[in-house]
């Protein structure tokens, strides 16, 4: 049983999806999805525990040994990501029923949970697999179900956002497919470990370079790295609130994982024919994304859209960490992956609770809510503080590591720009805080506090934000070891 954990991690939600469809009907479907997601989380925790103490797990699917068969390979990096993704799915599902009761018609709710579980299975599959083609298949499983989830949103704009994401996402996935095909042509293998051994032998070929270029662009599309981020604000803004909570905490993290995996594990660290300044490209695109998306966030009338823009900015920070490189830069990125999942889930969860009660999330409609929905509003404030990077919140830790990584590599200009990014975050979070607490309500109609399940999920996240801002042992030690392993594994 225990030796089969890597495959159970993926197969459980994958089989859970059709089972959910058969079980059908409202509350049962929700409880079942929650159970499956919680079990996935337990498996992820066990995997992380095993990997941390015993090292890398390699699982041969169907008993066919790698490189012939498909290998699931769990090291510290993807065990860490598995925990984040399954955790955010579980927390979001906890609140899902209350939120979708308001936003989604009853007859579509079963389909909603089926699509959710498929999306979860796809995301976990991308993380667990050690086979490049398998990555593409799971990428499409998660993407197709994501388009479905977004299109279930309450407005007609949701359909349009889902369609645009479908076009962009399919182009991105096809680019990745082209890259994998070119790698296969050069090496005759699809196993990532095998590729890592064989690609350096062909590193002087422009085909390998082209393969990396295609994969890089494809992943950047999925990651919403500036300037390929245009689909994200629309998709996040128009998706059902609780879907945004889940996606913001998981989907872009998985794309970032792919970027790290292909850059550090699969491809050789340099190409002998063409010398691309990869570090500079990452840093420039990342910091441009941080600044431009933060400025865009300031001018949004809809808070949900502003926070979606802020997601683009936070992805920028993670990519900047990758660009700085070295163990410290990587560690900063991995820390920010975790902390960003926490803070974004908190913010979007609070917005989901507000949308559940007043239907919209525009800045003007949120005036005076601080007194009417005190628990939700305060949850938003803590999430916002964490996003800015105030000490004693999780966000501070990753900002601290990022700034020190930039400073130690002698990039003082970058340090200043990261600070400017944080200042911009203060501006767009403050606008919301001002509306919540310091503006009189437009009308005095009483608004109830959010449903209990949503408050529970929200405050679980708020607690995690503060806890991991004070007791940083777990994320810091895991990210440090994962970063060291990646750096050493680099040929």
């Amino acid at each position: 049983m225990l030796s089969h954990l890597p495959i159970l991690q993926v197969i459980l939600p994958l089989l859970g999806a059709p089972a959910c469809l058969i079980l059908g009907r409202g509350k049962i479907a929700w409880l079942f999805a929650l159970l499956v997601s919680a079990l996935s989380f337990c498996i992820a925790a066990m995997l992380l525990h095993t990997v941390y103490h015993q090292g890398v797990i390699s699982y041969a699917l169907g008993g066919w040994q790698a490189p012939w068969g498909i290998e699931y390979r769990i090291d510290l990096l993807n065990a860490w990501l598995l925990l984040i993704v399954s955790g955010s799915s579980t927390v979001a599902l906890l609140a899902a029923q209350s939120s979708i009761n308001v936003e989604i018609a009853p007859e579509k709710q079963t389909i909603f949970f089926v699509a959710w579980l498929l999306c979860l299975a796809g995301l976990l599959g991308i993380l667990a697999t050690g086979d490049a083609f398998n990555v593409f298949v799971f990428l499409e499983v998660s993407s197709l179900s994501t388009y479905t989830l977004i299109s279930l949103g309450p407005h007609r704009q949701s359909l349009w956002a889902a369609f645009r994401y479908l076009i962009m996402g399919t182009i991105g996935a096809t680019f990745i497919l082209i890259g994998i095909g070119l790698m296969y042509i050069m090496t005759g293998t699809l196993n990532m470990q095998d590729l890592a051994q064989r690609l350096p032998l062909a590193s002087d070929s422009s085909t390998v370079f082209t393969a990396y270029a295609f994969i890089l662009v494809g992943i950047s599309l999925k990651l919403a790295l500036f300037p390929l981020h245009l689909w994200l604000p629309n998709a996040y803004n128009h998706a059902p609130s609780i879907v945004t909570t889940f996606l913001a905490a998981s989907a872009t993290k998985v794309a970032l994982y792919l970027l790290i995996r292909f850059t550090y594990t699969v491809f050789p660290s340099h190409f002998s024919q063409i010398d691309i300044p990869l570090e500079e490209i990452f840093i420039v695109l990342g910091i441009t994304g941080v600044l431009s998306a933060s400025v865009a966030a300031i001018y949004q009338a809809d808070v949900k859209r502003a926070i979606a823009y802020s997601s683009v900015a936070q992805i920028g920070y993670m990519v900047v960490g990758l660009g700085i490189g070295g163990v410290l830069g990587l560690q900063a990125t991995l820390l920010h992956v975790f902390n960003h999942a926490l803070m974004k889930a908190t913010l979007f969860m609070a917005l989901a609770a507000i949308a559940c009660r007043i239907g919209v999330t525009t800045l003007t409609s949120m005036q005076g809510l601080g007194r009417k929905m005190p628990w939700t509003s305060f949850g938003f404030v803590v999430g916002g503080l964490s996003l800015i990077g105030v000490p004693l919140t999780a966000g501070f830790i990753s900002k601290w590591y990022l700034v020190s990584a930039a400073a130690l590599s002698g990039r003082w200009g970058l340090v200043v720009l990261i600070m400017v990014g944080s200042l911009l975050a203060i501006v767009y979070i403050w606008r919301v805080v001002e509306a919540l607490y310091f503006k009189p309500a437009a009308d005095s109609t009483p608004i109830k506090e959010a449903p209990l399940a949503m408050l529970l999920a929200l405050w679980l996240l708020v607690f995690a934000n503060v806890y991991f801002g004070i007791d940083t042992r777990l994320p810091v030690s895991i990210s440090a070891e994962a970063a060291t392993a990646l750096q050493e594994g680099r040929p």
Binding site: E140, T148, S151, R156, A162, I167, T170, T174
Partner: protein, 118 residues
């Protein structure tokens, strides 16, 4: 010239890829966008299948008289990719139907106009 002729299938791949990509970007009609996306994906299928061909190789069916086989793996891979492509097309067209119902049009410019006017 020999490079052109001996690799003609790859030139077809490149041409189809560019045509499909261009249609996706340039066309405002949503159904045409999906057609473009299909052409784009098909070019990748041909890329994979071309890579599996070995000169003088026969179909990969075990037989004592045959020594050189074509590589069957790319075919299997692309079978999966074709299924994915069909699923994407189906979902895309379903979305187009829903968009048509909600907006009364499937032209990108008109949809954006209607979103901004309200």
């Amino acid at each position: 010239m020999t490079l052109l002729m001996s690799h003609y299938n790859y030139w077809i791949v490149v041409a189809l890829m560019m045509v499909g990509f261009f249609i996706v970007i340039a066309q405002g009609n949503l159904v045409k966008k999906i057609v473009g996306l299909n052409i784009f994906q098909t070019s990748v299928f041909i890329l994979y299948i071309s890579a599996g061909k070995i000169h003088g190789g026969s179909a990969p069916i075990l037989n004592d008289s045959i020594t050189v086989y074509s590589n069957p793996l790319p075919h299997v891979l692309i079978l999966t990719a074709i299924v994915v492509g069909i699923a994407t097309t189906a979902l895309g067209l379903a979305l187009v139907i829903r968009i048509n119902k909600a907006y009364g049009t499937i032209e990108e410019s008109e949809i954006q106009q209607r979103d901004h006017s309200c």
